[in-house]
């Protein structure tokens, strides 16, 4: 354990997020949540003074591993909050786990974050639901509430988040009697989707499922409308950004973790605190990272140790801890909390709360 200048015990905590690049609004929001949580805790957990070390992964998998390597081997962090996307969190979770450093992500929803080829990565946790939940809810909602019967799916072949959502959605959608007319992959750097969209336009699906981050879905959405595709756009939590092209995505639905319009007092209290500090409403990623940080701080306090092995134990044993984005949470055997899914609609250039669905 490190010693601070004043002789008190110090624990270094890493924070990794995409602060720049294609999904920088995720990182910016998350950073606000992280900072606020530490501030509220007085940069302390138990006997330990918290020293945060931040790094930007640009939402690039290899860059994420680079910065994680630096945080762990050079700065000596014992725990990491982050990263945001599954794209970057999966590789660093493996690395953190191998190096016995605790990692908790607020928002990376792919099951592969905590489980690698059937094996649980014991040091890895998250504060959000997982994609099978999210994809299934989206499919059911489309079938049952929107009464839409056919869908086309476009996803990024290089991102387990979008791959997972695409598959989960497809499975649930077909199981529920819907029909998937087309399912196409693209690469992260693609900008021209005309060929695929022309093909999809001919099939005239009711739904275009776009489980990617806000930049990509805005780009695809625009080109889809250009090609005369009239389908309803549906997506996942990757849409939640002020930089989403609201005009293009008008009328679309997406699954998310939370809505600031949720009347629960915990939520409204949090929204107020956040507004006071930053002058804006917190989005899902600020909230979830705030929750993740608090979960970690609580575990450090409970373990009252800077030994990652003990922190990890404490985290796994968390019982009915109250967080903003879901009442009393505990982790299942894979380090995932059980939480409801919120559905939002893009309407009039804004996000509108539609419903919250508890998974069974």
């Amino acid at each position: 354990g490190g010693q601070g200048a004043s002789g008190e015990k110090v624990i270094k905590i890493g924070f990794i997020a995409p602060l720049t690049g294609d999904v920088k609004t995720f990182g910016e929001s998350a950073q606000k949540g992280f900072d606020l949580a530490l501030e509220q805790a007085g940069y302390k957990a138990g006997d330990f003074k918290i020293e945060p070390v931040k790094a930007d992964d640009r939402n690039d998998a290899t860059e994420a591993v680079n910065v994680a390597t630096k945080l762990i081997t050079q700065d000596g962090v014992k725990a990491i909050v982050g990263s945001l996307t599954s794209l970057t969190t999966i590789p660093i979770s493996k690395f953190a786990n191998d190096n016995k450093v605790v990692l908790i992500t607020g928002t990376a929803t792919s099951p592969k974050v905590t489980v690698d080829e059937g094996k649980r990565k014991e040091y890895i946790f998250r504060a959000c639901f997982i994609d099978p939940t999210q994809g299934t809810v989206a499919a059911k909602f489309a079938l049952e509430k929107l009464k839409l019967k056919t869908a086309a799916i476009l996803y990024d072949q290089g991102n387990d988040y979008t791959i997972g959502l695409a598959n989960n959605f497809k499975e649930a959608f077909t199981a529920g009697g819907g029909q998937v007319l087309a399912m196409e992959a693209y690469a992260k750097n693609d900008t021209d989707f005309s060929a695929v969209l022309t093909n999809i336009a001919k099939k005239n699906p009711d739904i275009l499922y776009l489980p990617d981050y806000y930049q990509k879905v805005s780009l695809i959405g625009q080109q889809a409308r250009d090609k005369g595709i009239k389908a309803v756009f549906i997506g996942g939590d990757g849409w939640d950004s002020s930089d989403l092209d609201y005009k293009t995505m008008e009328g679309g639905y997406f699954t998310n973790h939370y809505s600031a319009q949720d009347p629960r007092p915990e939520v409204q209290n949090w929204v107020k605190q956040f507004k006071e500090k930053y002058g804006q409403e917190p989005d899902a990623f600020a909230t979830l990272t705030y929750d993740a940080t608090n979960l970690l701080l609580n575990a450090i306090k409970t373990a009252n140790s800077d030994d990652p092995a003990k922190i990890k134990e404490a985290l796994q044993n968390t019982k009915d801890f109250s967080i903003v984005s879901g009442e009393k949470v505990s982790f299942d055997e894979n380090g995932n909390p059980i939480k409801p899914v919120t559905i939002l609609k893009i309407e009039g250039g804004k996000q509108k709360f539609v419903t919250a669905i508890k998974p069974n």
Binding site: K54, P91, K94
Partner: protein
């Protein structure tokens, strides 16, 4: 076989460097992070020596070197991940396999495309690099272990400094022996004037392919070691931008100089990491800008590279003393 004087000094120098690193390790000056940087520098040395043979000594402009580095990494990484479990024998076998696959692919692609000249060859190799990247992105459809576009992890991390150091040393010696032999001379004469070399009895196609295969196999070897020292392989790590990295190491070091390649490779890896640390989180955005400026300024200050055609004496065989200080310049240079 008797050691020549320079070979002796070469080993002495190597032993000294090794001892130095060990001392720094023990004293704790070398944190695991800087150890990793050093190891990666040595790995890059091996790969860059490969390109040095291809371009620096044989004059074949390749912009696809990283593809072979990646082929080696994926081959060795996947083999050891599936069969190895940290077993040293498997480590070496997988390295050999990585080098062999890279070399074999180089042979197949090299035979047709090495007929192309300069920029055309460059663009063709670059294109090949992109094809390989697409292959990596979709490799998981045939072999799920490869991970595809989401990357691959899980290779046992068994390559430590000692191993990497010894491997680097062996590679440097072998490359030196190759360059200062009739094969090396055949290569440099092709670089200088392919037609004249042909008319003077040198089977140019054969030696161009040989240099290409050898250089790419070294890239594959470097990749194999990388897979055992860096936990995460991703197709983006092996695309054409990475090939540019190898290219600029070889050019900034000075074409036709092993010394230059080695020094620049190490310096280059450290430069990038030192910048990361020196700039800190607040100025990290400037890292790319400063790096780019350093690149432009160095090439303008020394357009012929650091050691163009010159070698450290240690690398030159004794009985060829008379050729020390010889200078090579790159064939087809100038306007």
């Amino acid at each position: 076989m008797k050691l020549s004087r320079n070979t002796f000094f070469f080993f002495a120098g190597a032993a000294f460097s090794f001892a130095l690193v060990k001392a720094m390790q023990l004293s704790g000056m070398l944190t695991p992070y800087w150890q990793l940087v050093l190891d990666q520098a040595l790995i890059i040395v091996i790969g860059a020596l490969g390109l040095s043979i291809i371009y620096g000594f044989t004059g074949q402009f390749s912009l696809g070197h990283a593809a072979f580095y990646g082929l080696g990494a994926y081959t060795a990484g996947a083999l050891d991940k599936v069969y190895g479990n940290g077993n040293m024998l498997f480590f070496f076998l997988s390295l050999l396999a990585g080098a062999a696959v890279a070399g074999l692919v180089a042979l197949l692609i090299g035979m047709p495309i090495l007929r192309l000249r300069s920029d055309y060859l460059g663009i063709a190799t670059l294109g090949f690099g992109i094809i390989v990247r697409v292959g990596m992105e979709n490799g998981n459809k045939l072999f799920p272990v490869l991970g595809g576009a989401t990357g691959m992890s899980g290779t046992p991390q068994v390559a430590d400094f000692d191993l990497i150091f010894i491997l680097t040393l062996i590679v440097i010696l072998l490359v030196r022996n190759f360059i200062f032999s009739t094969y090396g001379r055949a290569c440099t004469s092709i670089r200088e004037d392919e037609i004249a070399a042909d008319v003077m009895g040198i089977d140019t196609t054969r030696y161009k392919v040989m240099a290409f295969v050898l250089g790419c196999a070294l890239a594959g070897l470097a990749g194999g070691i990388y897979a055992h020292r860096y936990p995460f392989l991703h197709p983006a790590s092996f695309d054409f931008l990475k090939s540019f990295d190898f290219l600029l190491i070889v050019v900034l070091g000075g074409l036709g100089s092993m010394t230059g390649t080695i020094v620049t490779a190490v310096g280059w890896v450290f430069l990038l990491e030192v910048l990361r640390v020196v700039l800190g989180q607040n100025f990290i955005d400037w890292r790319g800008v400063i790096y780019a400026l350093i690149l432009v300024v160095s090439i303008i200050v020394r357009p012929q590279g650091l050691f163009s055609g010159k070698e450290l004496r240690l690398l030159v065989p004794d009985h060829l003393k008379m050729v020390t200080g010889k200078e090579h310049t790159h064939a087809g240079s100038g306007n």
